[in-house]
Every structure is written in structure tokens, then in C-alpha cells.
Amino acid sequence: MSRIEARFAQLKKEGRAGLVAFVTAGDPDMATAARIVEGLPAAGADLIELGMPFTDPMADGPAVQLSSLRALKSGATLNKTLELVARFRAKDQTTPIVLMGYYNPIHNKGLEAFIAAAKQAGVDGLIIVDLPPEEDGALRGPAVKAGIDIIRLATPTTDAARLPAVLEGASGFLYYVSITGITGAAAPDADVVAKAVGRIKQTCKLPVAVGFGIRTPEQAAAIARVADAAVVGSALVNEVGAAKTPDEAVTRVHGLVQRLAEGVRSAR
């Protein structure tokens, strides 16, 4: 059983949804990002989504764009991101880590080389924003062989005709993008999300995590009532951006994750 499967099985047993915490590798710098990531499970994150910085994050709003730029400015690279994962994995063998990012840095490293390095580091899944099912075959082959899940995304524009294409070959969990828009945009309406998740669950056997626009414990709780996990990203990287020192960044992110986790855990 993969770490992702085990974690969702455990959540099911506990009768609650999970909290997926997104932060960017290298934001504000690699050492601080490592401290942030290492403290996420204790703060209440059930899964970690780690952003791989990219110069042109086309589907991201200002918060994640700025986070990505801070990371690149501090010298973040794909290899250093993988080192961060390896360092985390040496201390924590159960919390799943999913890398989120754009295809070019992976394409640049070489697909086989990237998957081998990701496997070695202890990566559990990949969310590649600009790699829809039509184009992910070349990466999915080696990923499946290595036991790394390609996390597919469904969105409000993914209609009944499109959904089978998204689910074909999906593994780990399904990431439902709750709004049409960029990360950090307006909060989703939980009732609308509930209907969409219900529709998806008719054919999707994987757990469904919902993200985009969730920033408060109350919003996270509302999503936690209707989905298997709630993803929070922009609100967390905003905490990094607002911090005046690395220590403050660590404290702020962990503080918000604690409050979000309380929201998620009290939801049902």
C-alpha cells in the first residue's frame, strides 16, 4: 500500500477528512522551507503538497507566483527541492509528499532521471499543472513503474464527457479544482462543491481532495464535510511572504496549519 493510500485509509478509519498543506520548496529559502515542511505533520497536515518553483506559473495567482519568485531568487532548483524531500523522508516515513509544479523543469531534467530521483527522495505523487492526460503518457510510464502517483485534476469544466479521460490512469487521489480560476482566488461555495464531488464520486473510486480558494479554518471545515481532503496553499505562502524573519515564517505557517487542522478535524 502506498503512503497516499495508507493515509486516506487511516483518515477514513478516523471518520474525518484530511488537510493537505501546500508550501513552496525554497520559500523563503531552502533551509527555512525544510523547517516549515518538517513541522507540518505535527501542526496537523495530513498530506504535504510541495511546490516546485517555476518562472512562469500560468495557473497560479499572485500569492503562489510571489512564493515561486522568492524561492527562485533564493536559489531554488528542482534538485534542491528533491533534496528537501529526502531530508524530510529520513525523519518521516508516513506523511505523503506530493510535488506540484509545471512540466518544463521536469522535461529539462529528463523524465526517467526525474522519476528515479523523485523515487529515491521519497516522493509519493506528482501534480503537474500543465500536463493534462493527453500529454502525460511519457511521464506516467516511468512514474507508474516507480510507484509514484500522477494526481489528475478535475475542474468545474470537466463535464461528464471529459471525466472518463481524466480518471483513466489516475491514481493516488483526484484533485478537484473547486473554481474556474487561478490559485488563491475567491472561495468556493461549499454547496456547489458538494454537488460536484458527489457527481465525480459516482465514477471515481479514488479519494477526492478539493483545493483553490480555501483560506480560513471555517472554509476548510465546510470543504471537509463534503470531500476527502481540503487543500490550502495561497493562504500559507502568504504567511511566508508576510514574515519578517525566517523564524517568523516557520511560526506563522505552522500556526495557520494548526488552526486549519482544527477546522478540518471538527467538521464532522
Partner: protein, 406 residues
């Protein structure tokens, strides 16, 4: 370097999945996938619809002013003392560049698809002006994304867009040029999927854009072929066009790709010189990668981060290139060369004085290549250049580069 087998025809791409050899494709967020699949379906239907083509032809004739002239540049030919030089006068189109050909086609497509809002990105502002123009003509609200740096160097075009009723939104992220404007337009589109049509200005982006922009621009090459037949009774010996994303070039080249006697040359912007790293020559100095929905040659660093392009010409200041050009490069059908800012400026001034034509800085790059190449060719060598835009928008930049104050 990717090796591409020599195909039976160079005009059959893309394949049904939107690839030209290993280039192109549909590398977009899932939110946009249903939209681009829908766009492809509608475009293919429109392409075979005689009524759509007739409507398009009508606007191209009466609104754009097509066909554009084929002009023998006699004094330039005499001055250079070699090849006989012709210009395809796309700068005479309504709005002053080839960009309008594509915009008319796409706005008719938007109308056909029932979309009610138009967005676009722009670099030099020519595509923004052309989009604002057709949006005004068809009564659509229109938002143009433009990098802050480009807004500064293309002020006249910004004001033109505003006069045409478009809202110009300054893009402050990244390098604040064309690539960032495209990021921001994609962000708008992903947010406003239900009513918005994104008019991409160059033959790049996710499938079907490289195909449909090329098809709408191929009117350039199709006309030129017939006009050359009339003027000289034969095909030209070589074609020359500048390349940023590559829409004017593919529009001229595509109808000639299967004419083996025609030598085809694309001219990239070498900026301050390839060796300085400050350039926009993605084929000469880039590597294949994935950006803005397609796999193509990109300027990127060792980590796969996109590096900033540089060119004096805002329209060429882009770190990528259309995927069909990437494929034509690898297959050897088109020869891609590069020209520096300085060489382009010299060509701009020469053309103004010898032909009474102020070329845009973009085709000034093509012209600069001709200045190098034409003297080495025999007098019966016919060289056809795409004069893709007029230089009025560039007078401030040129004055600045020449040390004049306006």
C-alpha cells in the same frame, strides 16, 4: 537536438493530437482542456464551411484591404547589387501589420462559438491593436494584457488600443514583457472560461492555435505566390521573414513549403548578440521545452527555468517560438538565422531612405538579413521578404537608439 525524418510533405502538420513531429501539443491546465477541444471542433467545422470562408474573405477584402501589394524594391535592389528584392506589403493592411489577418479570422470564430468577451496578449502592441480593432468592429468588450516594459516602449499603440475601446491591463509579473502578458491572459481565460475567447496573436500556444493562426496567416503566402507568378512568371528563389512567435513567417512560408526550389529563411532576434546571452533567438540558442501550452524551443537555464529574452523589437522579445518552426528547423526545410538590434536599426534606416517605407523593427530584422545575403546572390535570384508591419509605432524606440530626443 531532435532528429526528424524527412516527411513526404511539409504541409500536413499538425497530427490529430496537435503535434508537429515532437513539437506542439496541448500542455494546458485541465480547466482549459475542454475549451481548446471545443475550439478545435468549431474551427475544423468553420474551415470547411463555405459561408464562414466567404464572410472571412469579405472582411479581408473590404475591411483589411487585401490583397496586400507585392512590391519590387528597386532602389534597395540596386543598392545591394545582387538579388532582386520584393516586399509583401503586409504593413499596408488596416492597423499596419499582418496581425489583423488572424484577428479577423478568430473574431469570426468567437462569434460563431457564441463567446461575448475577447482577451489577448500583446508584445509590440500590433496584435493588441488588431484585436482591439476587431473587437470594436464586432462590438465585443476587450481586455489586452501587455507587459509594463512593453507599455513603456510602445506608448502610441497603448493609446490606440484605448481609443478603440479596449482596456489595456499592465502586467507587472516576471520580465514584464510578452511572455508574462501571455501568462496573465491564460490566467484570465482560466477564470472566465464561460464567456471569453482568447485571441492568441502568434502561431504558438496549445493546439489548435498554432494551426489556426497559421491558416489565417497563410493568405500572405497564397497571395504572394499568385502575385509573383503574375510579376515574374515563376516562384521566388528565396523567402525571408522575421520570427518572434513566428506568425508572419509561417503565413508566408507555409504555401511554399513543398516547393523544393524555394529556399526559406527565418530571422530571429539576436538582441545584443547571441554570445551576450541577451537575445531572443530560441532556435539558435535555446533547447526544446514546454511553455504556454506547447513543446518548442525555449530560452531556459540549466534548471529548466525560462530566461528573459531581449530584443529592441518588442514583437520579437519572446523566449519561445511557434512549434511548427521548431519542427521545420529540425527537419531542415527552413534555415533559421539571427540578426542583432544594431543590424536591424541600420536596416530600418536604409529602408526608410531608399524605399520611403518605415518598416517596423520586427521586419527590419528580415531586411538586415537581406542586406547581408542579397549582395552574394545573382541578379536573377528573386528574394521575397514579408514586410510584416510598419514602423510608426517604433519611432520613439528608434529615436532613442539613435540618440535623438523627440
Amino acid at each position: 537536438m531532435n532528429v526528424t525524418q524527412r516527411p513526404n510533405s511539409f504541409r500536413i502538420g499538425p497530427d490529430p493530437t496537435g503535434h508537429f513531429g515532437g513539437y506542439g501539443g496541448r500542455y494546458v491546465a485541465e480547466t482549459l482542456m475542454p475549451l481548446i477541444l471545443d475550439l478545435e471542433k468549431h474551427y475544423l467545422a468553420a474551415k470547411d464551411d463555405a459561408a464562414f470562408q466567404a464572410e472571412l474573405g469579405g472582411y479581408l477584402k473590404h475591411y483589411v484591404g487585401r490583397p496586400s501589394a507585392l512590391y519590387y524594391a528597386e532602389r534597395l535592389t540596386q543598392h545591394l547589387g545582387g538579388a532582386k528584392i520584393y516586399f509583401k506589403r503586409e504593413e499596408l493592411n488596416h492597423t499596419g501589420a499582418h496581425k489583423i489577418n488572424n484577428c479577423v479570422g478568430q473574431i469570426l470564430l468567437a462569434k460563431r462559438m457564441g463567446k461575448t468577451r475577447i482577451i489577448a496578449e500583446t508584445g509590440a502592441g500590433q496584435h493588441g491593436v488588431a484585436t482591439a480593432t476587431v473587437a470594436a468592429r464586432f462590438g465585443f468588450p476587450c481586455v489586452i494584457y501587455m507587459g509594463e516594459v512593453d507599455i513603456e516602449r510602445q506608448k502610441p499603440n497603448v493609446f490606440r488600443m484605448e481609443l478603440l475601446g479596449a482596456e489595456v491591463r499592465a502586467v507587472k509579473s516576471g520580465s514584464r514583457t510578452l511572455k508574462d502578458a501571455m501568462n496573465e491572459a491564460l490566467r484570465d481565460w482560466v477564470t472566465n472560461v464561460h464567456d471569453t475567447y482568447y485571441i492568441i496573436g502568434t502561431a504558438a500556444g496549445p493546439h489548435p492555435y498554432p494551426m489556426l493562426v497559421r491558416d489565417f496567416q497563410a493568405v500572405i503566402g497564397n497571395e504572394a505566390k499568385a502575385q509573383m507568378q503574375e510579376a515574374e512568371g515563376r516562384l521566388p528563389d528565396s523567402l525571408v521573414a522575421c520570427i518572434g512567435g513566428g506568425s508572419n513567417a509561417i503565413g508566408l512560408f507555409h504555401p511554399f513549403l513543398d516547393d523544393p526550389s524555394v529556399e526559406i529563411i527565418g530571422v530571429e532576434a539576436a538582441g545584443h548578440g547571441i554570445e551576450t546571452g541577451q537575445h531572443a533567438a530560441s532556435l539558435s540558442a535555446g533547447r526544446p521545452g514546454v511553455l504556454h501550452g506547447n513543446r518548442t524551443y525555449l530560452l531556459q537555464d540549466d534548471d529548466g527555468q525560462i530566461t528573459e529574452a531581449h530584443s529592441i523589437s518588442a514583437g520579437l522579445d519572446y523566449p519561445g517560438i511557434g512549434p511548427e518552426h521548431a519542427w521545420l528547423n529540425d527537419s531542415g526545410r527552413v534555415n533559421y538565422v539571427s540578426v542583432t538590434d544594431k543590424e536591424a536599426l541600420a536596416a530600418f534606416q536604409l529602408c526608410a531612405r531608399l524605399e520611403g517605407i518605415l518598416p517596423a523593427l520586427e521586419p527590419s530584422h528580415a531586411l538586415a538579413h537581406i542586406m547581408r545575403d542579397a549582395p552574394n546572390r545573382p541578379r536573377d535570384h528573386i528574394m521575397l521578404m514579408n514586410m510584416s508591419g510598419r514602423g510608426d509605432k517604433d519611432v520613439f524606440t528608434v529615436a532613442d537608439a539613435m540618440g535623438s530626443k523627440l
